[in-house]
């Protein structure tokens, strides 16, 4: 009876209740969707890091990471690998040779980490091969008698291996993809120009296009003007097994794009066989074992087991290799909670105000209810329930709307391409797929109920203080 009465009381003053409900709806909708976007970005970052950059567990010589000395191998790598493969939960293992060196093109040179890999085994541990940019080649799939390197998009730009070129066919393709005639005409003076750097190209585009055109079509123009010269080459220099400076020309096998400038600029992948030949290393000499596990929740357990079985070697799981990732996955949940609490706390003031009005307006009725035998506990519960219903209706509607928007945007993602450079500089993709767990919705529902209860405490206490005889005399 109390529940039914409380529910009907919510709709006693429809306009006032709807104002509160709509404000809760907007607050929850905005909050949940914002969290879903943040969560999507972070989850994409973590997924990318684990699938394309570091995987789950590394085994190194304990001193190797201090100076990346070529002589600090893993002792008896094959035995270590055999031991790893016996542990249940380990999905794949790959061996790497890692050197530091310089990447040089005709125009520029930059410091890089040169990673010698076995491409077939690497594919079992990493998904980097799936991030090969269209038209730039492949992940060492084409046979070649030359040394091959698989490099990042950012490094390709740094070394001027990619270029921006506008010709008539570029403009025709842009028109086909929806570029307005008026904007296309502004590009005609650039026909035949070749921009060796992205920065130069951007500067020219900023001068000839309006801000609106840059926002709407800048990314499209860049995509079409982007060119890659096949069989581009670069030189990699490094120290060999005898600590002698050596190097070789490498052809670009392909370019990968993981939307993380730092990784793309610093990691060059080459075939183990090429690197061994150039450094004089033997087939058993590797610097790192990289392990992929089946269940991420067992990370600590498996890395702990490996540490026990491999005393004297450095076993690091992804949380230790990149503590920022571990922090993000752990801390971010608390941040979402605080974020939603702040939103609900702001909404709570509106609910308190409404419930105070409710008590004030219904003084006589509350007096009557006390007179006919409704005890304080029930009066308190009725006011609590009204407040919870008010907040819960708004909250549930807000969550439904946010869920719909999340589903709508999760399919194609939200494109923040205008801020692409900023996102990629931080290692995040500018194309975000919002995502949120069912657990988060449950947490928000609990928070909404708590907000309703807390918002009703003061008004309900005021109602309990009413003297029934006096309240009944109220006009």
């Amino acid at each position: 009876m109390i529940w039914k009465t409380a529910w009907k009381n919510v709709w006693r003053n429809k306009v006032r209740s709807l104002v509160v409900i709509i404000s809760v709806t907007i607050g929850i909708f905005g909050g949940v969707f914002a969290v879903a976007v943040m969560n999507g970005a972070i989850q994409q970052r973590v997924d990318a890091a684990l699938n394309e950059e570091i995987s789950h567990i590394h085994i190194n010589n304990p001193s190797f990471r201090d100076n990346y000395d070529i002589r600090l191998f893993l002792p008896d790598a094959d035995s270590i690998e055999a031991l790893c493969r016996q542990i249940p939960g380990i999905e794949a293992v790959t061996q790497r040779v890692i050197l530091t060196g310089m990447a040089n093109s005709a125009r520029k040179s930059t410091g890089v980490q040169i990673v010698g890999i076995d491409p077939d085994r690497e594919k079992q541990v990493f998904g980097l091969h799936r991030r090969t940019m269209e038209g730039t080649g492949d992940f060492f799939e084409t046979e070649s008698r030359y040394n091959l390197a698989f490099i990042g998009h950012a490094l390709a730009k740094d070394l001027n291996i990619v270029r921006y070129l506008i010709d008539q066919s570029t403009i025709d393709r842009l028109k086909d993809r929806g570029l307005p005639e008026e904007t296309a005409e502004k590009l005609i003076p650039f026909i035949g120009f070749r921009f060796s750097g992205e920065k130069d190209f951007n500067n020219e585009m900023k001068q000839c296009l309006s801000l609106n055109e840059q926002t709407s079509y800048g990314r499209l123009i860049k995509e079409e003007a982007w060119t890659f010269r096949e069989r581009s080459r670069m030189t990699l220099t490094f120290l060999d097994a005898n600590q002698m400076q050596t190097g070789a020309v490498f052809r670009i096998a392909g370019i990968y794009d993981v939307k993380n400038n730092a990784f793309e600029s610093g990691q060059v992948f080459v075939r183990n066989e090429d690197l061994r030949r150039l450094t004089g290393l033997t087939g058993h000499q590797v610097h790192q074992m990289v392990i992929r596990i089946a269940d991420l929740d067992r990370t600590d357990e498996i890395s702990g087991l490996l540490s026990q079985k491999l005393p004297g070697l450095e076993v690091m799981n992804w949380k230790e290799i990149q503590p920022d990732l571990a922090m993000m996955t752990g801390l971010v949940q608390q941040f979402y909670l605080v974020f939603m609490i702040i939103i609900l706390a702001a909404l709570a003031f509106g609910i308190v105000n409404t419930m105070l009005m409710v008590v004030l307006e219904r003084t006589r009725e509350l007096g009557m209810l006390a007179a006919i035998g409704m005890n304080k506990k029930r009066v308190f519960s009725m006011i609590m329930l009204e407040s919870v219903f008010l907040s819960l209706v708004g909250g549930v509607v807000g969550m439904i709307f946010s869920r719909i928007l999340i589903l709508m945007t999760a399919r194609n993602g939200i494109n923040f391409s205008n801020y692409e450079e900023g996102f990629e500089a931080m290692g995040y993709s500018s194309h975000i797929y919002p995502v949120i767990s069912t657990g988060f919705f449950i947490m928000v529902t609990i928070l909404i109920i708590l907000t309703g209860i807390l918002s009703a405490v003061y008004p309900a206490l005021k109602a309990l203080k009413l003297d029934p005889a006096e309240a009944l005399r109220t006009e």
Partner: protein, 228 residues
């Protein structure tokens, strides 16, 4: 059988400037099935007396015993529960819950007493039939006339079969026809259910129907007349 005993009852209101002796040494007994009116001019202490009997206010001195239970000995939470089970109220301005239907208003007290659904439905229909509003069971108070609302209030007051019903000026807002109907209904319920009715009233028509008339003046009993 006595359902209500009032012994040497006093109620004094002390405000900052004046001291009002609203009820001044009243002794009264009510038997089961009485149909009594408390009359008197404004300020004579009628409503105060009713509030004291109903446990809505505490006496300054004296005792009120309902079926032998002294209300002064009960804690405030116990008094509320005692009211729920033993006392029915009818107010001057009906005081129905506007968001509930007539049936739900009647059912409300039974719900508070945790009667089972079937018993509640039966009793609600029985009472609404008794007050002639069975067909308005699903109507909200706003769709009922003042007289009809007061009849629903009477049905609500009787819902949990109380020891007695206290009605404070129940006909004050009703026209003569509605007053007549309401009084007939209350009288017949009083006879059928043997429930004691105690009114405070100014209304001569109520006084005429009452079988006992207690006249108050300045908080004291001026006369206590029983009719046959």
């Amino acid at each position: 059988m006595k359902v209500l005993e009032i012994k040497n009852l006093h109620k004094i209101y002390n405000t900052t400037q004046i001291r009002v002796h609203a009820v001044n040494g009243i002794d009264l007994d009510f038997e089961e099935g009485e149909f009594a009116a408390i009359v008197g001019p404004s300020g004579s202490g009628k409503t105060t007396l009713l509030n004291l009997i109903g446990g809505l206010d505490k006496p300054t001195e004296g005792e009120i015993l309902v079926n032998g239970v002294n209300l002064s000995t009960l804690k405030s939470s116990e008094i509320i529960d005692f009211r729920l089970r033993n006392i029915g109220f009818v107010f001057q301005s009906y005081n129905l819950i506007p968001v509930l239907t007539a049936g739900e208003n009647v059912e409300f007290i039974m719900g508070l007493q945790k009667w089972d659904r079937k018993k509640r439905d039966e009793r609600t229909r029985e009472l609404l039939k008794a007050v002639g509003l069975e067909e308005r069971i699903h109507s909200r108070p706003s769709k009922l006339s003042g007289g009809q609302q007061q009849r629903v209030a009477v049905a609500r007051a009787l819902a949990s079969k109380p020891q007695f019903v206290l009605a404070d000026e129940p006909t004050a807002n009703l026209d003569s026809k509605s007053t007549e109907t309401l009084l007939e209904i209350m009288e017949s319920l009083n006879r059928e259910e043997r429930i004691t009715f105690i009114f405070s009233t100014h209304d001569a028509r109520v006084v005429k129907k009452a079988r006992r008339v207690i006249t108050l003046e300045d908080g004291k009993i001026l006369s206590d007349e029983t009719r046959n």
